[in-house]
């Protein structure tokens, strides 16, 4: 019979005998974790890649911060291209007494040029595909706007000075480029309504787009014309998505992928243990097979085939589970993912199966292959070949497989090395502490030995169990309790009287009236700061290029316009740390004051000159001071401030921030009605949205952490399986010494409770330390270690391990003490 068929038959027999349950479960968990993440990544990236043209809104798009010149549009039409203009900007809409920051978008007829809008006529109604924008006078809105504004479809929405009827709900917008993680819900209106809103003012933050569709040759001709006539125009082709967004998605996928690998590592330990146990139980069978004439080659072939079959089976079940897992993650992220994610492809199933096979071959094969050295003499002499499984080879092979998987998932050797190092160091640290506790208990057992029972009799196994379960619990506690602690610490740190509203886009002629309005209605004397948009183009007389900087955030700072201001007086929450604040006597000498972090990023110091392009004019000044800004004051602050003369004549809007007591939301509604172009930004709502994202995001990672915990429990069960014979022997011995079954059960229960409490307590400690370690450097928070964490972890761990242990060992206590007389070899 061929090896693969023989292997399949033997495997079937092993399966029926229950020999492989744990091994199979461990591989399945590993595959589920990896394939679940792979499926999520696959579908999200398909949504970003495949519909690139739709996402762009056309075959080409011209972007600008200024209105698209009429000439660009006419020329495109001359070349036979279809054109649609759009304008998009944050604004606040009003319905009754409620206001809401939205992402407003006005489009011309003909929109969308590619793809279609998916709409609903009622919240749970059927979808209909439409290839035209709303008629003038109507607004189509994102469904979540209804509860936010406590309104119904059909109610009137005030958009600036215009009142529009809400007509339909937007389920999907083809060109919601950057549609993921958008904070503000969409309001779509017709281009012709835009002017009537009064929202378009000088200095308003509007992103204009000219979407184009047509034949490739016509597009190429237009592209050439535009490059010649308007070199500053920003032309985008499909596939050139927002680099910031795609890098966020990429990083998120990598992070989840590596989180999945943590599960693989822990499951790998379970695989290693169960495979060794399985191998040890195969020794006699292999000896008989050898005795009956099986060659070493045949033994190797059969064992390898067994693992391949097992891998395929686990791959199948694991990918099915992984599919379910990814559905869960999609559901958790529903608000931030497009409605029509691409269908699931077959590739992640292949990935999952490959992971199953490499895990099995890496973790289990080295142990199993040693069985080829079992001597046939064993059938006569019990001691022959009993040392065949000893040796260190399986461990480096397993480590190499883990590293290989990390490299593959992280896509970067250095990242893989860093994560591998961190995981191993973390495991070693957790292991060292667990071992110290267990061996310490073993040393100091003054009390009754039966209390500590198995924990001190099998210290190595106990340590391994504590680490495996502890790892999963650490991840879970970190993502739930520590996360909430950090959020709470952060919220406590915010002054309750700190400004909670920003007003932006205030026109110069509105400043006095707005100050009066705020004084009368909200009782605040708000200071309004001028805000001028400029782009950094030169330093010390030389042109600056974003490519000069390696750091992505610095590149964006240089590539984009950012906000400048001017003032005589150093703001209250600013402090000069180098150089001197503007001197009135030098009013005609152009000077900048730069915030310290930004100064460090772009590499500028007192005495250097910076050149900004502001509204087509270049303005150069000397850096006379570096400032430290207390950002968490929530006051309006600026990275770069010029002295008053420097920015004169530049297009200016004003900004202010103030504290509005709760329950005064009406003031904002009235403010928007009276000053339609002013955009109030509700900080509370934004913080709430950020909290939501953190919570939803961490729930996805929590799913992964739960899988790690399940893998940890599998290690626990594997260790119980390995020590099962020993436990049965001990049970029989103690019964022969007069212990009752209940007594033995009590001892085991105590052992599991102690084991669980130790791993949970350590996990709580580790999670707290990790939170504390991250709070300072990453979040600049003064995190207080939550003393309840170890207690909470200990309680959770105790219950978990007790339940799993009781389940796995319930048949051990039935052992008849006669075993001791019948099998003296055991």
């Amino acid at each position: 019979m061929s090896a693969w068929r023989q292997a399949l038959r033997l495997l079937w027999r092993d399966g029926r005998a229950g020999e492989l349950r744990l091994l199979l479960a461990a591989v399945i968990i590993a595959v589920a974790a990896v394939s679940g993440v792979a499926w999520l990544a696959d579908r999200v990236s398909q949504a970003t890649d495949v519909r690139a043209a739709e996402l762009l809104g056309g075959d080409r798009v011209v972007r600008s911060n200024d209105p698209i010149p009429e000439e660009w549009v006419e020329r495109a039409r001359d070349y036979g291209l279809q054109t649609v203009r759009s304008a998009e900007f944050p604004s606040v809409v009003v319905a009754g007494d409620y206001t809401q920051l939205v992402s407003l978008k006005a489009v011309e007829s003909g929109y969308p040029l590619r793809g279609s809008l998916q709409l609903r006529d009622e919240p749970e109604g059927p979808l209909s595909a439409v290839q035209q924008p709303p008629e003038p006078g109507a607004a189509w809105i994102a469904p979540r706007l209804l509860p936010l504004l406590e309104m119904d479809l059909g109610d009137t929405l005030e958009v600036g000075a215009r009142a529009l009827g809400t007509e339909r709900l937007i389920a999907l917008e083809p060109d919601r480029g950057g549609g993921f993680f958008n904070l503000a819900p969409r309001v779509l209106i017709h281009w012709d309504d835009l002017e009537g809103t009064g929202l378009v003012q000088e200095g308003s933050r509007i992103r204009y787009r000219l979407m184009l569709a047509g034949e490739p040759a016509d597009l190429a001709r237009y592209e050439a014309w535009l490059t010649d006539h308007a070199p500053e125009a920003e032309l985008q082709a499909p596939g050139e998505g927002d680099p910031a967004l795609s890098s966020v998605m990429e990083q998120a996928q990598r992070f989840l992928g590596l989180a999945a690998l943590l599960t693989v590592v822990v499951a790998g330990v379970a695989i290693l243990l169960t495979a060794r146990h399985y191998a040890s139980r195969q020794i006699d069978r292999i000896a008989i097979m050898r005795c009956l004439g099986a060659t070493q080659r045949q033994v190797t072939a059969i064992l390898t085939w067994k693992l391949l079959w097992l891998g395929l089976l686990a791959g199948l079940i694991g990918t099915a589970l992984g599919y379910g897992l990814h559905l869960g993650m999609v559901a958790l992220l529903a608000d931030y993912l497009p409605d029509d994610l691409a269908g699931a492809g077959p590739l992640p199933a292949l990935t999952g199966t490959l992971v199953a096979l490499s895990a099995l071959l890496g973790f289990a094969l080295p142990s199993l292959l040693r069985l080829r050295d079992v001597p046939p003499l064993r059938v006569l002499r019990r001691d022959a070949g009993s040392g065949v499984l000893r040796g260190w080879l399986p461990y480096p092979v397993a480590l190499a497989v883990i590293f290989g998987l990390m490299w593959w998932q992280g896509g970067d050797l250095r990242l893989a090395a860093a994560v591998f190092g961190a995981v191993m160091a973390g495991l070693a640290a957790l292991g060292a502490i667990a071992a110290a506790v267990v061996y310490g208990l073993r040393r100091t057992r003054r009390a009754r030995i039966t209390t500590l029972s198995g924990l001190v009799r099998r210290p190595a196994t106990a340590t391994l169990q504590i680490v495996a379960v502890g790892l999963g619990l650490t991840a879970l506690l970190l993502l739930s309790v520590v996360r909430e602690d950090l959020l709470a610490t952060w919220e406590r740190g915010v002054d309750p009287e700190a400004p909670n509203y920003f007003l932006i886009n205030v026109q110069p002629d509105e400043v006095d009236e707005l100050e009066r309005f705020l004084a009368d209605r909200a009782g605040v004397s708000a200071e309004l700061y001028p805000m001028i948009r400029g782009r950094l183009v030169g330093m010390n007389g030389e042109a600056l290029d974003p490519e000069d900087y390696a750091e992505p955030r610095t590149r964006r700072l240089v590539a984009r316009e950012f906000n400048l201001s001017h003032t005589d007086n150093l703001p209250d929450d600013n402090r000069v740390i180098s150089g001197r604040w503007f001197d009135e006597r030098q009013a005609d000498h152009p000077q900048w004051s730069v915030e310290e972090d930004i100064a460090q990023r772009i590499g500028v110091d007192v005495g250097d000159t910076l050149t900004y392009r502001i509204g087509g004019r270049e303005v150069t000044g000397e850096v006379s001071s570096i400032r430290r800004v207390q950002w968490d004051s929530f006051n309006a602050n600026f990275f770069v401030i010029g002295n008053p003369g420097l920015l004169e004549g530049a297009p200016t809007t004003y900004i202010t921030s103030f504290h509005l007591p709760e329950g005064e939301a009406r003031v904002i509604a009235d403010l928007v009605r009276q000053f339609p172009s002013v955009t109030p930004v509700d900080l509370g709502a934004i913080l709430e949205a950020v909290r939501d994202i953190i919570r939803q995001g961490s729930r996805v990672v929590e799913l992964m952490a739960t899988l790690t915990l399940v893998a940890g429990v599998l290690v626990l069960l594997a260790a119980l399986q390995i020590t099962g014979d020993q436990r049965r022997f001990e049970t029989a011995l103690m019964r022969s010494l007069g212990a009752s079954r209940a007594h033995i059960r009590r001892m085991a229960r105590r052992e599991f409770l102690l084991l669980g409490a130790l791993s949970g307590g350590l996990a709580g400690l580790a999670a707290g330390l990790a939170g504390w370690g991250a709070a300072g450097p990453l979040f600049e928070l003064d995190y207080q270690f939550n003393p309840w964490l170890p207690a909470l972890g200990a309680a959770g761990g105790a219950v978990l391990v007790w339940a799993a242990g009781a389940l796995a060992t319930h048949d051990h206590y039935r052992q008849s003490p006669m075993t001791l007389l019948r099998d003296p070899d055991d």
Partner: protein, 212 residues
């Protein structure tokens, strides 16, 4: 006594009637597979026969449930096995303390230390089984059997895993205990020399006990 096996019922012991008096030393000899160990298990209440009755220390243990029998064992019986059956993760002292702790006895540590001293291992209290020779391991097992001061000591081939000289030393120890403390001794063995030293020798063959 009957057992049910795959080929139907097996009658292992036939018309077996045995009584052992306090302080006696009895050897049960027989060939491999004659049922010596099974008989010992029945006498100790480790197992129950399908027919027949067993009394131990004035109690009919065949009428007790398993946990009640465990209690009787803990109170009256000491066991010595051919394979010693010490717990590898516990040192000599802790192995001997184990039955005391199971019975909830006081001064477990001190009494275990005394028991080990009595078998000549007072200097090896903190050695683990793997650090002890076969004879020493069996002496720890004897100390464990004695520490509860049982009235009956049962040995299943107690010298079977030991060389001749060590075996004799262990046997000396057992008979000294039997003499000095009046502990009843029941030994299952196939070693005729060990049998010779007992007050009574019984031969088990074909389910019948000769000399009973």
């Amino acid at each position: 006594m009957r057992f049910s096996g795959p080929d139907g019922e097996i009658r292992l012991f036939d018309g077996l009637d045995l009584s052992i008096t306090r302080g006696e030393s009895v050897a049960i000899l027989g060939a491999s597979g004659s049922g010596k160990s099974t008989l010992l298990g029945l006498l100790a209440g480790l197992d129950v026969p399908t027919g027949g009755r067993v009394w131990l220390a004035d109690q009919e243990i065949t009428a007790l449930d398993e946990d009640q029998r465990a209690r009787v064992r803990g109170e009256h019986l000491g066991f010595i096995f051919q394979a010693f059956h010490l717990l590898g993760g516990l040192n000599a002292l802790e192995n001997v303390m184990l039955p005391l702790e199971l019975a909830g006895g006081a001064r477990a540590r001190a009494r275990a230390g005394e028991a080990l001293a009595r078998v000549g291992l007072g200097g090896r209290l903190h050695h683990y089984p793997r650090q002890l020779s076969g004879g020493e391991q069996q002496r720890v097992a004897i100390a464990r059997a004695l520490v509860t001061e049982p009235s009956l000591l049962m040995g299943d081939e107690p010298t079977g895993n030991l060389d001749r000289r060590t075996g004799e030393q262990v046997a000396d120890l057992l008979f000294r205990i039997n003499r000095e403390q009046g502990t009843t001794l029941v030994l299952v063995t196939h070693d005729p020399d060990l049998g010779e030293r007992c007050d009574r020798v019984l031969h088990l063959a074909d389910g019948r006990l000769e000399g009973a």
